[in-house]
């Protein structure tokens, strides 16, 4: 059984930053990720990031893990990285069981930072399980990580940032995007993303819903219907579109299974699209010594995930007695960064959500 100060579960932007700050505070850290490389969903993001320099703005997502890993090297004596390692469960005695390749490993940490991210939502419509209907993350993985095109043409469901960005990435990979729909009367993502698509000639069609997928063994065709301002279907407006791939980007939901297992108090927060842990300003949950960061704490951008990771790492270490000499100023800086990232009109929902969950 491995004993360590802090285990960080998830090696995405939040997890890496948490590991860096816990280690720089003097704690021994074990960073776990179930993939064979660090970076989480960043490894598929070919676009340049928003935010400020502190969160690596204008750097492409794919290049950010490299920068963070380099920063981590500074503390390599304090950080052990374990890849291809899936946490299976957290038990009553605080022991984590892990599957790593062919091994089964147990870890007993003093503190835990959960940065497991999110999973994609699965919508309900007839034939929603046909091959060719893929999550947006899956499409990204396939084309941006493995260089395989998802199909001849793609129809995108969901016009939040992910839907818009993945549509753009599909065009970059040489795939025809037949259209992007969302249920509401306006698309949800940033206007600059939508404008990029419009310039290329991809139709963005708010106020539509997929009501049926068709195909014998795999997707051949979809039926759409128009929705009114209140997202109600307007009968008689059904029409079909031929496509071999339907990409689903109807949102993410936090992957909080481990937090449930540990008995953290969880609440369903609409603004965060699922159950998230009740926590304090330092990101500590209701179970002492268990911290959260990133999408598992509520769906947001990678920029705030990185800052949350740094804050959680700093505070988790402090909780275990490893106080960074610059603890107070760092903490203040991270809180300020988070405040700034969430302060604009697009941060409305996030601020509302946080008001319900931070104690």
């Amino acid at each position: 059984m491995i004993k360590t100060d802090i285990v960080v579960i998830g090696g995405g932007p939040a997890g890496i930053c948490a590991a860096i700050n816990a280690a720089s505070s003097g704690a021994k850290v074990l960073l776990l990720d179930r993939d064979s490389q660090l970076g989480g969903q960043l490894i598929k993001q070919t676009h340049m990031f928003f935010g400020s320099q502190k969160q690596h703005a204008s750097v492409r997502g794919i290049d950010i893990p490299g920068i963070l890993v380099k920063e981590m090297e500074e503390y390599k004596d304090n950080i052990q990285i374990m890849l291809d390692a899936t946490v299976l469960g957290i038990y009553e005695d605080g022991v984590l069981t892990i599957e790593k390749n062919d091994d089964y490993i147990k870890i007993k940490p003093k503190g835990i930072i959960v940065a497991t991210g999110a999973s994609e939502k699965f919508p309900a419509f007839p034939n929603n399980d046909l091959p060719g209907i893929y999550g947006a993350g899956a499409v990204q993985t396939l084309m941006n990580v493995y260089g395989v095109s998802p199909g001849k043409s793609v129809f995108m469901v969901g016009a939040g940032n992910i839907g818009l960005i993945v549509s753009y990435q599909l065009v970059q990979a040489g795939v025809e995007v037949k259209g992007v729909i969302c249920r509401g009367p306006r698309y949800g993502g940033y206007a600059v993303h939508a404008s990029k698509l419009k310039r290329i000639g991809v139709p963005i069609m708010p106020g539509h819903r997929v009501i049926h997928a068709h195909g014998k063994d795999k997707l051949e065709r979809i039926t759409l219907i128009k929705l009114d301002e209140n997202k109600k279907e307007i009968s008689g407006t059904e029409f079909d579109i031929e496509t071999d791939v339907l990409c689903i980007s109807t949102g993410l939901t936090p992957l909080g299974e481990l937090l449930w297992q540990m008995g953290c108090e969880m609440k369903f927060i609409r603004e965060f699209s699922g159950h998230v842990p009740v926590r304090n300003e330092e990101l500590e949950t209701t179970v002492p010594g268990v911290f959260v960061a990133g999408d598992v704490a509520g769906i947001e951008e990678a920029s705030s995930a990185m800052v949350e990771g740094r804050l959680a790492g700093l505070c988790c270490a402090k909780k275990l007695g490893f106080t960074n000499p610059e603890y107070s100023s760092l903490k203040e800086d991270y809180l300020q960064q988070l405040h700034d990232l969430r302060s604009g009109p697009v941060g409305d929902g996030i601020r509302k959500g946080l008001a319900k969950i931070v104690v």
Partner: protein, 254 residues
């Protein structure tokens, strides 16, 4: 009307719908034959003598509701497919409607289809309770549909087209459909955990990761509860399936 639209009107139907008291007693035939045509198999096939003897082969059938027990023998023998069986005692909320159906593919017992009215308009979701197709029915299968009680005199056909998304898969791992989940909610299962245990929805290798929120949404829709207030299922290890051989006795170095 009937001669111009093909759809019998309320006045036509008045003459063939039994009184409430009779319907409350159990299954009975509804003979929707409104025109004098030279035809009498309903009369000749009724073993109970519930249909009044035809004096003229052009007579319209007259059913004695007290003798008819809804056995359904006449249904598959009516060349006009004009006879239906309605059983309003099927359950507290549902009636059973037996419909002659000569199309392929046949619906599958236990599945959900769309109940259609006499004009071919989708009217409700309906569960296929039984598909009877024995030899003596001579390729006129009888489909028993469970429909909302108030629609027992409205639903007269079915469509396999999934107007109510009932065959939509909600749980990919265990292949549970939206229709099955809705049925359970209707029966009084009001939490994710209850639905999971009786239907296996969410018990597969993904451990409910893809279906739980959909179930919560369906419960919210049906009960009017806020999704915030709906209890999630129990989260148990492992997060992902693991081979017993990997665990076998613990860590290798132990």
């Amino acid at each position: 009307m009937l001669k111009s639209t093909g759809i019998p009107n309320e006045k036509d139907l008045e003459s063939v719908i039994p009184p409430k008291e009779r319907l409350a007693k159990g299954p009975v035939a509804i003979i929707e034959c409104f025109e004098k045509i030279p035809c009498n198999p309903c009369y000749t096939h009724c073993a109970r003598g519930a249909i009044k003897e035809f004096e003229d082969i052009n007579d319209r059938p007259q059913l004695n509701y007290d003798i008819c027990n809804g056995c359904s023998i006449c249904v598959s023998h009516c060349p006009g497919l004009a006879i239906f069986i309605v059983d309003e005692t099927y359950s507290d909320t549902e009636a059973l409607v037996k419909i002659p159906y000569e199309l392929l593919p046949l619906p599958v017992e236990g599945s959900f289809v769309t109940g259609m009215d006499r004009g071919g308009k989708p009217i409700c979701r309906a569960k296929v309770v039984k598909v009877q197709n024995p030899k003596f029915q001579d390729k006129t299968p009888i489909i028993s549909l469970a429909v909302p009680k108030e629609l027992s005199m409205v639903v007269r056909f079915l469509s396999l087209e999934d107007y109510y998304s009932d065959s939509t898969i909600i749980c990919r791992c265990e292949e549970v459909t939206l229709g099955e989940v809705r049925e359970l909610i209707r029966k009084g299962y009001k939490t994710v955990e209850e639905i999971k245990r009786i239907s296996r929805c969410g018990m597969g290798p993904c451990q409910g990761r893809t279906c739980q929120q959909l179930i919560m949404e369906e419960i919210a829709k049906a009960t009017g509860e806020r999704i915030e207030d709906i209890k999630v299922h129990n989260y148990r290890p492992p997060i992902l399936p693991i081979k017993l051989g990997r665990i076998n006795g613990g860590e290798k170095n132990e």
